[in-house]
């Protein structure tokens, strides 16, 4: 394997940078500290752009946003101890949503490990359940193979975060290096071979259904199976619902689109999901937030489950047919089988007629907030003015669920949210990461005030690094989702949810050198969005709304989709 002539002398930190460059890394999000100084010294000499954050959590979220949009691992750097633990929420967020990421932390020198050294933390032990894999090289020579393997693991199969924890002396010491072009990981088999037998069974089962539905999850977006999904849906004339993570897997302005199901799913999607007799579920893990109670969901429903991760099959739901493998590859075979059978469904079957009626009814009759600045109205205004190819991220809370309900994702893979871990503060740094990956399109963080507050210091990064994202701040001066639950389930005993108009987000934006705009009417909002889209600096649009506005429909926790609470 080792070609002695190709060996090069350098220190570990140089080998790290060289390895990252070989992986095509152009930018790193991070913050320096004592234990990663050698790598920062080499980062300064390399061609890799450093994007400085003000808190390591944001570095991880930026890398996550970058990774979801580019489908290549985003890279974040942090020092040992608190630097590393600050990354942890970001790592766990990426793991919960299967986002590719490579996190590189400094560690105390090998001889100091276990001595409770200054800024020592066992980050590998702490992060283990939130990681796809981790490495801690003990000699500099191990670095290139670990980087190569780390990227391979992070981006293949079901993507996820990989941690490289590099002791300071391993960064500093000299070694003789070779850089592998290929790596093998013996216990890792990211792709299963196409499963022809089960795909055949899946086709037969779906074709025999009277009331079929397609449930598209985040896996469709991760594997870019948009065209394959759409052609099957159109060929068979089957309506498509998505999970919240799968929002954007299927154009939401398509006649067959019903939108997301789940706790705050579209009324028509939840209703028709419960009426279906067979579901083709693609790249989804049947989260409780999507399906409600597991037993209720699978009652009278045959489930065909396609997923890249065999451990997802049967984890939450009982499956009739399972097709394990990359969902794009599986859908291609599925589509080809339909073509060979020359199957085509006409659109005058009773199920589809019913689907159209239900959809039309709810599109016309769902009650929305009557005020001028109701959530539905402001989000529809944003959709109207925002080009379809724009990328949207969200924070976590009411605004996120309103975005799910009232902001249609039209272009494939343009909508991203912390859906699994539900990390407040994710959307803004993730938008900055997304903008780094796609500087050519507008990037908007649909935010709530509580969430934005958690990572708003990333405004410094957006301004100084010239990444003009837009924060669409739906401001109810409260932790709105918690407030809604207190109103609904705790007899309006409001505890710890009032943020009391603090801070002033326009002034806050301005203090960072960003543009701050306030929109208190639809006209002001119209002009603010247009101004923001033209701006070459990051913009915060502060949009005060009625703090009492609830997100509806609502499937209460521990109930089924059929028990959906509707606006009265």
């Amino acid at each position: 394997m080792t070609d002695k002539n190709k060996m090069e002398n350098m220190i570990g930190a140089t080998a790290l940078m060289k390895s990252l460059e070989k992986e095509g890394v152009k930018e790193v999000f991070g913050l320096p500290g004592g234990a990663n100084l050698p790598m920062y010294d080499e980062l300064g000499k390399s061609n890799i752009r450093h994007i400085l954050v003000r808190h390591e959590q944001s570095a991880a979220h930026m890398a996550d946003g970058f990774g979801r949009v580019s489908r290549k691992p985003g890279v974040c750097f942090a020092t040992s101890g608190p630097g590393a633990t600050n990354l942890l929420t970001g790592i766990a967020t990426a793991q919960a949503d299967s986002a590719p990421m490579v996190a590189v932390t400094g560690q105390v020198p090998v001889a100091m490990i276990g001595k409770d050294a200054f800024q020592e933390s066992d980050i590998i032990g702490m992060a283990n359940p939130a990681l796809k894999y981790s490495y801690q090289p003990r000699t500099p020579e191990e670095i290139p193979t670990m980087v190569k393997q780390g990227f391979y693991i992070a981006e293949t199969g079901r993507p996820g975060p990989v941690l490289l924890d590099i002791p300071k002396d391993v960064q500093q010491n000299e070694g003789k290096f070779t850089f592998p072009d290929e790596v093998r990981v013996p216990g890792y088999h990211p792709w299963a071979d196409p499963d022809i037998t089960n795909t055949t069974r899946a086709v037969e089962l779906l074709l025999s259904a009277q009331k079929p539905i397609i449930l598209a999850g985040g896996g469709v977006i991760i594997s870019s199976a948009f065209a394959e999904l759409q052609s099957i849906a159109e060929l068979l004339m089957i309506p498509v619902v998505t999970t919240f993570k799968g929002k954007g897997a299927f154009p939401e302005n398509h006649p067959l689109s019903l939108g997301p199901i789940g706790m705050h799913g579209h009324a028509e999607a939840n209703k028709l999901m419960t009426e279906a007799d067979c579901v083709l579920a693609i790249g989804t893990r049947f989260s409780d937030r999507s399906v409600g109670t597991f037993a209720e969901f699978e009652k009278n429903l045959k489930i065909i489950h396609m997923d890249v991760d065999p451990a997802e099959i049967g984890k939450n739901q009982t499956t009739s047919v399972a097709v394990v493998g990359d969902v794009r590859a599986s859908l291609r075979i599925f589509g080809k089988m339909l073509m060979d059978k020359a199957v085509r469904t006409s659109d005058d079957n009773p199920w589809l007629k019913h689907v159209k009626e239900v959809k039309q009814y709810w599109r016309e009759n769902l009650k929305i907030h009557p005020g001028e600045m109701g959530a539905a109205k402001i989000l529809r205004k944003l959709r109207e003015l925002l080009p379809n190819e724009s990328i949207v991220t969200t924070e976590v809370g009411q605004h996120q669920m309103w975005a799910s309900l009232f902001f249609d994702a039209i272009h494939p893979g343009t909508f991203f949210s912390s859906t699994g871990l539900g990390t407040m503060g994710w959307g803004f740094p993730a938008a900055i990461g997304a903008k780094t990956a796609r500087p050519d399109v507008p990037v908007v963080d649909i935010a709530g005030d509580g969430s934005f507050n958690m990572t708003e210091n990333s405004l410094a990064t957006a301004v100084l690094e010239d990444l003009p994202v837009i924060v669409f701040l739906i401001n109810n001066y409260s932790l709105g989702m918690v407030a809604q639950w207190q109103r609904t389930f705790y007899d309006r005993r409001m505890v710890g949810v009032d943020l009391k108009k603090c801070p002033d987000y326009v002034k806050l934006a301005e203090s960072y050198g960003a543009q701050g705009l306030r929109a208190q009417s639809m006209d002001e909002l119209d002009s603010a969005i247009k101004t923001a889209l033209k701006s070459d600096v990051a913009t915060v649009i502060d949009i005060p709304i009625d703090p009492e506005e609830d997100v509806l429909p609502f499937v209460a926790p521990g109930t089924g989709l059929k028990d959906m609470i509707l606006p009265s």
Partner: protein, 163 residues
């Protein structure tokens, strides 16, 4: 609920036992017993984990273990077609001189070995199935069981039938 024996071949590297046991904890699975040792190939170790759960849970455990990058092979052994044994040591009280002989007889009935026979206590070592160990434990309690230490089960599946 069923009792299952899982045989897990892993890379012989530090930190893997931690990851495997952490998986059981974080996924809310249960470890009944665990034993670890190197295999015929020094690059690999074998962990033998016994667990109790319903079929769905055990299938999930196998899948989650299989998904781990450090596991090379994960197998649920067929309990009826495997040799599984556990090593156990009992320190049994000797209350009166006749006890000594009784314990000796009991041990030989179970093919157990006597170690460190003292006036006050005897250490008995046996390698047996968990069922046999429980049976012996009940009998030993009559004398008084001072201490007990068990290794956890280790197991190998039998070869296919020869024809």
């Amino acid at each position: 609920m069923v009792w299952a024996i899982l045989s897990i071949k892993v890379e012989n590297k530090p930190g893997i036992l931690f990851k495997v046991t952490h998986l059981f904890r974080s996924r809310n699975f249960n470890i009944d017993s665990i034993s670890v040792g190197v295999t015929e190939d020094k690059k690999y170790s074998r962990m033998t984990i016994t667990t109790i759960g319903d079929e769905k849970q055990i299938t999930q455990i196998v899948k989650q273990l299989d998904k781990m990058i450090d596991t090379i092979e994960v197998r649920r052994l067929d309990v009826n077609n495997s040799v599984y044994r556990e090593l156990v040591m009992f320190k049994i009280k000797v209350n009166k001189p006749e006890d000594s002989m009784e314990i000796n007889k009991l041990a030989s009935a179970y093919s157990a070995k006597i170690h460190d026979a003292k006036k006050e206590s005897i250490i008995v070592e046996m390698t047996a199935t968990p069922h046999q160990i429980s049976a012996f434990e009940e009998l030993a309690k009559k004398f008084g069981l001072k201490e007990m230490a068990r290794t956890g089960i280790t197991a190998l599946e039998r070869e296919e039938h020869e024809h």
